[in-house]
């Protein structure tokens, strides 16, 4: 995370103090400690639990971003982050499993948003069908392992068939052993390749199109993939159609996850009935985190390279870019494919985590939600996009439900009287709509804009005064250099 730079030069006294490494470190540690304390202070039986959780969950879950943003010695930052991810998060997660679930969902959506950010933020191509690539990965793992009655299960091509068949030839037994150990990661790589390939296949015919035409074509493509997923149950059943693929396998759970969970639980004095369940969540958390880390690294490396500069150039001015030797189609394809590849890998993780996928998981609204994460966070800025994904996921999955839970609790306690037509649980999308509109009105460049866009916005009024039109010419006549010098 070396590229996560320190704070901008301080302007006020407060900032100046905060920008000192030692102070930054202290503040960061204090923040994390306080956040964790808050989490443990939560009293589930309190009437105000939902409201408290609503406030404390974002405080806690944003703490890695706070650590990454405050100025401190690099080593300290790394140590702190490792401790956060490897110790604090799991401990809190075991004591409060919904937070672990949130962390997993955030890592999934942050990964998706970063992938889309390559296409939209870096290369400036509007893609409204991004969820299609996500579906490719998810269906790949789903079809490989679900016992649903698809052509794969019927023809004994799947893991579950092999694994449950007692009479195995040595070859098949070897295959099962491989599958049970590494198939998940193997399929994840295939997912990366397959989604990347689909990205190229889609990109080839359509990348000549200008911005908004590209948007509708990608939107159509997203729908096409969803409709295929829904319809390819006949004449040959590939996807099990609208019924979806159920009981999709999870990656094998290493034994120490269970013992780790048990020991943490006993240290905290928690009664955990089924440690394997929490351990599995922890495993998904680990995979999601590692995947997200790799994706962030790849994003930074791509951005600070010939490729990233070429993408920015394309975003800024296609004609100038191609005239400077940037091969447009190749670089755009590369953007499409890299974005798609991320989505493919995350799709595999998603299918394994959900254990069930159906076409409804891959609707247009998903693509739009991911796009909203990119834009709300700050197009082009990796940290901003992660923040955007965090906030939107939190709002959708935690803040809004807890808000309605709080109102419901007050109503159950007789402190609030709401008619059923205005049941707060019914109006979460309304609040989400307001959140989107207000965030955009107050921070049009996103929460953490890319550096250049920040500057752009500050000077947008001067923008138009730059001499763009060609100068009125025929200089000849004025200075009279023809006919004599």
């Amino acid at each position: 995370m070396a590229t996560v730079s320190a704070m901008t030069p301080a302007k006020t006294g407060f900032r100046e103090i905060l920008s000192r490494p030692a102070v930054g470190l202290a503040v960061a540690i204090l923040y994390v400690v306080v956040a964790v304390l808050f989490v443990f202070m939560l009293d589930r039986r309190s009437l105000w639990y939902p409201l408290a959780s609503l406030v404390i969950a974002p405080i806690f879950l944003l703490s890695p971003l706070v650590v990454a943003s405050l100025s401190m010695p690099r080593i300290a930052r790394i140590v702190l982050l490792v401790v956060m991810f490897a110790v604090v998060m799991p401990v809190v997660g075991i004591s409060n499993p919904p937070y672990l679930e949130l962390a997993v969902q955030i890592s999934i959506f942050a990964g998706l948003a970063l992938g889309l950010n390559i296409v939209v933020g870096f290369a400036g191509l509007l893609d409204l069908g991004y969820v299609a690539f996500f579906a490719v990965g998810a269906y790949l793992w789903g079809m490989a392992t679900s016992p649903s009655e698809t052509i794969f299960t019927e023809n004994a091509w799947t893991v579950s068939y092999w694994a449950s068949n007692p009479d195995l030839s040595p070859l098949a037994a070897g295959f099962v052993a491989f599958v049970q150990s590494g198939a998940f990661f193997f399929v994840m790589f295939i997912g990366i390749a397959a989604a990347g390939l689909v990205g190229v296949l889609l990109g080839l015919p359509v990348l000549r199109l200008r911005g908004d035409y590209l948007a509708i074509v990608t939107l159509g493509f997203g729908e096409v993939i969803r409709i295929f997923a829904r319809n390819l149950d006949s004449p040959i059943n590939f996807t099990n159609g609208a019924q979806g693929l159920r009981n999709i396998a999870a990656p094998p759970l290493p034994g120490f996850y269970i013992s780790f969970t048990e020991s943490i639980a006993s240290v905290l004095g928690l009664r955990v009935d089924n440690p394997a369940v929490l351990a599995k969540q922890l495993l998904f958390y680990t995979i999601g985190l590692v995947l997200l880390f790799v994706i962030i690294l790849v994003c930074f490396r791509l951005k600070d390279s010939v490729i990233g500069r070429a993408w920015t150039a394309i975003r800024e001015d296609e004609i100038a870019a191609i005239a400077m030797g940037v091969p447009l189609v190749r670089m755009k394809l590369l953007a499409f494919a890299s974005g798609a590849a991320f989505a493919g890998a995350i799709g595999v993780l998603y299918a394994a985590k959900q254990t069930f996928i159906d076409p409804q998981s891959f609707i247009l609204l998903q693509s739009i939600t991911i796009l909203a994460m990119v834009i709300v966070g700050g197009m082009g800025n990796v940290k901003g996009v992660v923040l955007g994904a965090m906030i939107i996921t939190l709002v959708e999955l935690h803040t809004l439900p807890n808000l309605s839970l709080q109102l419901n609790a007050l109503r159950n306690a007789g402190q609030l009287n709401i008619p059923t037509q205005l049941d707060p649980a019914k109006y979460q999308p309304l609040v989400f709509g307001f959140v989107l509109v207000l965030m955009m009105l107050f921070r049009p460049a996103g929460l953490l804009p890319e550096k250049s866009r920040r500057l752009e916005l500050m000077e947008r009024n001067e923008d138009d005064e730059l001499p763009k039109e060609e100068p009125i010419s025929d200089a000849v006549l004025v200075d009279g250099s023809v006919p004599q010098e």
Partner: protein, 397 residues
Amino acid sequence: MSSESLSPRQGGLLDPLIQSEAWQRFSHTGFYRFIVFPIGQIIVFIVAATVFLTALAYLVALLIPEPRPNIVLSDQISRQLPGMVISGISIGFVYAMVALGYTLVYGVLKFINFAHSEIFMFGSVIGFAFMNFLSSAGVLADWNPVVLVIATILISGIASGLLAVLIERVAYKPLRNAPRLVPLITAIGISFILQDVVRALASITINDFNLTYPTRNIAFFQNPIPVVIGTNEVRVRMTSIIIVIAAVIMLLALNYFVNGTKAGRGIRAISMDQATSGLMGIPVNLMISLTFFIGGAFGGAAGALFGLNVGNVTPYIGFIPGLKAFTAAVLGGIGNITGALLGGLLIGMIEAFLNGLLPYFPAIGIRYTDIITFGILIAVLIFRPSGLLGERVDEKV
């Protein structure tokens, strides 16, 4: 409907007529420019689309005469043809009117107003509310049906237009200098808000969100008109005819407004160059609001007509027609008014033909209608990257 796009070209059969002095004089009258020409254009579009799709269908029937046992495709085509054409035209006009909203806004602001589908929904709900009000007052049946339709269109059109202006003022105008994708996100936020606000209002006032037009019990709207073509009888629904007539009249009005009035000229100027138009004294903000009003009014009126036709609307009704109308706008060439009309009619007709004939191919079926429609769009865009009637954008270098 710019008069240039279909202007007679030299070398045609009609040359003697076109070059005659009388024609020249006639072609410059308002009657020609605002009545004869646009209606001719609409007829040409409809006839061309019908002929093309029918020919294609019969061609398929020639290649695959019996796609299913006991089904002779060509017989089925001739049996269904009138019904498919009529339903294609009526839904096509709805798409076209909604597509106009997308295209007008895109023309002046170069951004896709994703909340437009909810304006359409809003129009359909206002149409319901108005009729429901009359119905509960017990006077619905007393109104002359023609007056009722006109009043409904006006009320839902004006209400939706005002809503569109309000949305523009609140959610888009402050963002005019922001990156282009930002208004897209506010538009999505607005869509959520509109859906839920309408739902809340509907559930508070009538405790329901299936809003059924009370016109169901009025014979004028309900009784179909039997039309006998050859040996088979087709029942044409009155509401389909209403859609076509209303849409044509509104399109003529729009054509007159855009090409025949000062305000229309202002809008056209802004769509070409906003900054210069401002310098030339055109009130840019007013014109943009006006554009939103017109686009919203068309969307809202289309919503009311659609509601009248299908009978039942909900707060979530806008999404699918909105998406299709957006496709239509792009197919025709987004930013081009004639393109929206052509695109809407084409999408409507293609859909009607696919939905009518794909059932005879059990391996495909109407579940693939949307995929084929999008396939056609993509094919068109690959050969004409700016849509059917969109201008070629050879960027000046």
